[in-house]
């Protein structure tokens, strides 16, 4: 039972990684670079929700979510317009370094604005739900439900709407997509909107679970990287499974190894994956699925 509980904890932790990884992998799929500034979108979502729940606005958290996501999306789009679009003809490494710079800039801007003190939303506590020996907390349940809802939405978008299919087409072959008259601008914006929304919602959940600090995004970003690579870059469903796999692996490791090595597991997974299956578990081609 102990191990089952560890696996459940792992799946839930992993579904949060997946929420971040999906955004990261979509950006990679379309723009072909790894966005280091994605972590700051996570933090930004959490902090802007804090802004809306604090005076003078003092909205309840549930109402603060929408404007917070909107703010994060705006920043995501601004990043694209001011930095990534002008650079899109440069090398991928130029984009990557620019995103590292952006990450620094935003993280420090958050610290500038909100200070580096720990902050929190003051969410009420509740004991977890028990099913026999298994216990799942309310926060864990909300994370799981959010992840399921968002990823189901994504599945619907990708398979049932023209825009979603166009997005996958662009990830497959941007040149051909352009020839086919697919509106690249709109698709690019959609990618940023989706990535930022997922990041912001995930960030708010993380902050509800614990607390807010400017570094909160970076800490989770490396796990998201691992999930992306595990699933194969650009592969949305791979990222989901990759996230869960990493969550489960590191939580199971707590039972046998020193928890000081919890992160080590994620990194080891990255290295091993890259060495034996450079394309990820599922994919051997580029493109977004």
């Amino acid at each position: 039972m102990y191990y089952l509980q560890l696996v459940i904890n792992g799946i839930i932790a992993g579904s949060m990684y997946a929420l971040f990884a999906v955004g990261l992998t979509m950006v990679y799929g379309v723009f072909r670079f790894i966005n280091f500034a994605h972590g700051e979108l996570i933090a930004l979502g959490a902090y802007s929700a804090l802004f809306f729940t604090s005076p003078p606005l003092s909205l309840p958290l549930i109402w603060a979510t929408a404007p917070a996501v909107a703010c994060t999306v705006c920043v995501g789009l601004l990043q694209d317009r001011l930095v990534f679009q002008p650079l899109c003809h440069g090398t991928r490494m130029t984009l990557l370094i620019a995103s590292i710079g952006l990450s620094y800039l935003l993280r420090n801007a958050i610290q500038f604005g909100f200070g580096s003190d720990l902050l929190s939303y003051n969410v009420d506590l509740a004991a977890g739900y028990e099913w026999g020996p298994i216990i799942v907390t309310r926060m864990q349940l909300s994370m799981l439900i959010t992840a399921v809802v968002f990823l189901t939405f994504l599945y619907w978008l990708f398979t049932r709407t023209m825009l979603g299919k166009a997005l996958r087409a662009v990830a497959d072959n941007m040149e051909l997509a352009g020839i086919m008259g697919i509106p690249l601008g709109r698709v690019n914006r959609t990618v940023w909107i989706l990535a930022a929304t997922f990041a912001a919602v995930g960030g708010i959940l993380l902050a509800m679970d614990t607390s807010l600090e400017p570094m909160m995004g970076v800490i989770n970003l490396l796990k998201a990287f691992a999930a992306v690579l595990l699933g194969g870059p650009g592969n949305v469903w791979g990222a989901l499974i990759g996230g869960i796999a990493i969550g489960v692996a590191e939580n199971l490791s707590v039972a046998v190894l020193s928890p000081g090595y919890k992160d080590f597991i994620a990194f080891a997974v990255i290295l091993v994956m890259l060495l034996f299956r450079p394309g990820g578990i599922f994919s051997f081609q580029k493109g977004m699925r």
Partner: protein, 294 residues
């Protein structure tokens, strides 16, 4: 005076470190995000040996050798990967090394770090003072600079340049390309190991906190700022970064505002990177060397 010496020494050590990254990044186009690990390996090796009572020159040599060896191991395993994959793999490697430093307490004393690392002694048996240590560092810097400069003009360096400039030629190189890159990483790691050892003996204290991803990013900024692919680029870049960092200490900032200074500094660093990429992705001094545009 000691403060200036301190700045000079840390700039030079960082410049050596930046030059070693530049060898991989600027010449071979390998984005090694775990380069700080070799700095750390060098620092820990030399520090542990010196604290254990072994002669410092032996420690420094072993530091370089071990860094080179591990570099070869890393290169052997991850060189098949290209571009961002290589970057992420090395990033993972760097973090794994840091976690090893942190958790293998029997060896590294974990988060407590290693205090009391001896400075090299002179002939008379006295530990070197700052000025003498600076001389030592200057000598090392010049040596590394000359070696790298030599490499640049050697067939090896020219081959690397061709490889970086032209994908097709690179593909034609095939197996040779791998061995070229491999040698690049090994030499880069050895030099990073040297920088790490110098650092350990200068600071006299090291802990896993000194070897985080942040360290790699600062050095990356130094290299990119100065201009990739020329030995003098990282030197200049390091000077600018260190001076910027230190000059902030001298701005007459009201105490109440003090807590905003650090985030502001971070914002400036971040903005610099972004603007550099937007305006001059080839760095500040590339034009002197006829470097290509973006």
């Amino acid at each position: 005076m000691d403060y200036l010496l301190h700045i000079a020494i840390s700039t030079l050590i960082y410049a050596i470190f930046a030059m070693s990254l530049n060898l991989e990044l600027g010449y071979a186009g390998l984005y090694n995000f775990g380069h700080i690990a070799f700095f750390g390996i060098g620092a820990y090796t030399s520090a542990l040996m010196a604290v254990g009572g072994l002669p410092i020159p032996l420690g420094i040599t072993s530091a370089m050798a071990l860094a080179g060896l591990i570099g070869a191991g890393l290169a052997f395993t991850v060189l098949r990967l290209t571009g961002d994959y290589f970057g992420i793999a090395t990033l993972a490697f760097g973090e794994m090394m840091r976690l090893l430093f942190l958790n293998e307490r029997w060896l590294t004393k974990g988060p407590m770090g290693i205090p009391g690392i001896p400075r090299p002694t002179l002939l008379g048996g006295m530990p070197a003072d700052l000025l003498q240590y600076l001389m030592f560092t200057v000598a090392c810097t010049i040596l590394v600079f000359l070696i790298l400069h030599r490499l640049e003009t050697s067939p090896f360096g020219r081959a690397l340049k061709v490889v970086r400039e032209d994908e097709f030629v690179a593909q034609a190189f095939g197996k040779n390309l791998l061995s070229l890159k491999m040698r690049c990483i090994v030499v880069g790691s050895v030099i990073a190991g040297l920088a790490g050892a110098l650092w350990a003996h200068y600071m006299t204290y090291i802990s896993p906190n000194d070897f985080t991803l942040q360290g790699t990013i600062i050095v990356l900024l130094c290299v990119v700022l100065g201009g990739k692919g020329s030995p003098s680029g990282p030197l200049l870049g390091t000077c600018v970064v260190v001076l910027l960092q230190e000059s902030l200490r001298f701005l007459p900032i009201p105490t109440d505002f003090g807590r905003h200074v650090a985030p502001l500094q971070g914002m400036v660093f971040g903005l610099m990177l972004v603007l550099l990429m937007l305006r001059r992705p080839q760095g500040l001094i590339a034009e002197l060397h006829g470097g290509r545009g973006a």
